[in-house]
Symmetry: C2
Subunit: 245 residues, 2 copies
Amino acid sequence: MSAFHDPKQALTLAAERERLDSFFHFGISVDCVVFGFDGSDLQILVIERGANPFQGFQALPGDLVHPNEDTDAASLRVLHDLTGLPDIYLEQLHTFGRVDRHPMGRVVTVAYYSLIDIRRYAPKPGGWASQAQWVPIDKIATMAFDHARIVEVALSHLQHRIRHQPIGFELLTEEFTLAQLQLLYEAILGTQFDKANFRKKILAMNLLQPLEKTQHAVRHRPARLYRFDPQRYSLLMERGFAFEL
Amino acid sequence: MSAFHDPKQALTLAAERERLDSFFHFGISVDCVVFGFDGSDLQILVIERGANPFQGFQALPGDLVHPNEDTDAASLRVLHDLTGLPDIYLEQLHTFGRVDRHPMGRVVTVAYYSLIDIRRYAPKPGGWASQAQWVPIDKIATMAFDHARIVEVALSHLQHRIRHQPIGFELLTEEFTLAQLQLLYEAILGTQFDKANFRKKILAMNLLQPLEKTQHAVRHRPARLYRFDPQRYSLLMERGFAFEL
DNA sequence: ACAAAAGTGTTACACGTACACCCATGA
DNA sequence: TCATGGGTGTACGTGTAACACTTTTGT
């Protein structure tokens, strides 16, 4: 039966309006899983809720979508309002629509995720968020709503993704060493890689520009710095990768 | 600013309720992209809308979610009501939340997709659907709402998916030949495979049980029939595949 | 000189690709 | 016996994994 029209029933316009109305009492929210990397641990940007429900709990930055707002746009607005992060690239992850997932009404949430350089953006709590901070993914306290589940889905999505296309540069500073990139991959996937083979594989993609710079003040041979090449990346994206591991 | 609480403002409970109310006028719908395969063409199950808006247009089976219904459950109910298909495995695809995507109000839709054996289920229009039929994916007329876009996303999702894990058996009859499976892969990906290599790759996964049966009444050497092994599949799913192409 | 991490080369092996060839059936 | 598609074996090149080795810095 359509909520808009059922040809078998002759309803007055008013009655039809009212019946239809019951289908329009949903709230839509967005929640953002923002991944960062501090050099050794994979982290997530979490806020502390300064309002009910779940006041005082850790939560993902998220809030209700405005009636005249695209959900994609809402994700950017909400993230900015609660954590001060500027417009970044957010990708839709999954939608959570269980009836009982929100204690104060029927709220379906659309989850987004992103990867950013942790040293580039300092989160500042805004709106009703009493805190906004980076937390290592394995040290997050009990989360509000079904946010723990959302983080789970986001992590497995990230793991799958990084094995099939060369994302991950977004998590590092603009100039980085190959060892740092390897540490990142190992942190996300929870595995170890052979140094020589990892280098060969990464460099074979031709996505990194070697710089004429090296590290300084390290008590061993300084490593060459590299930079990510976004043009080459978008070129490869169109043709499709053959990337694995 | 939270829709639930803004500590900076002292609102009466009634005023707060009313303000909050404006955030709860969304409709949620589900839309289903059901893929089938007739032996040569990849097809999609489409309905013809027997009600406004977009009356007479081709559309995906989809409708509004009930207030007390999980979105996952709604996808099954709606598909069944409109096309007569029984409960099948539907997987969430993507959520479309543009403000202007529905002409009669703010409706955010969650799209689902599935793969089924086209010969196993005969669609029968129900509810407000005036037709329900299989249509080759490249012969679909103009679709209602943003459904053409949803089909695009579903197809590219399917293509990506089938290259990385061995789905596709769902689209064939229970017993099938390797040539039929190869035709299916070629139809989905729009490419050609070497017969010998395709066989080796597929059989190396140990997902197919060879049967002691062959084709009949074909004017060439009859092909051996195979059956998909669901147990082995779920075993591999947990360990993670190393599947490519 | 030593420790520590950067960076490279070599080898053995697995795997994908291409292609040629044989097999079983109906007409 | 021919056409048709089923089915298999092999040889070659590429890519991956494991591991040893050299290089460059700070102390």
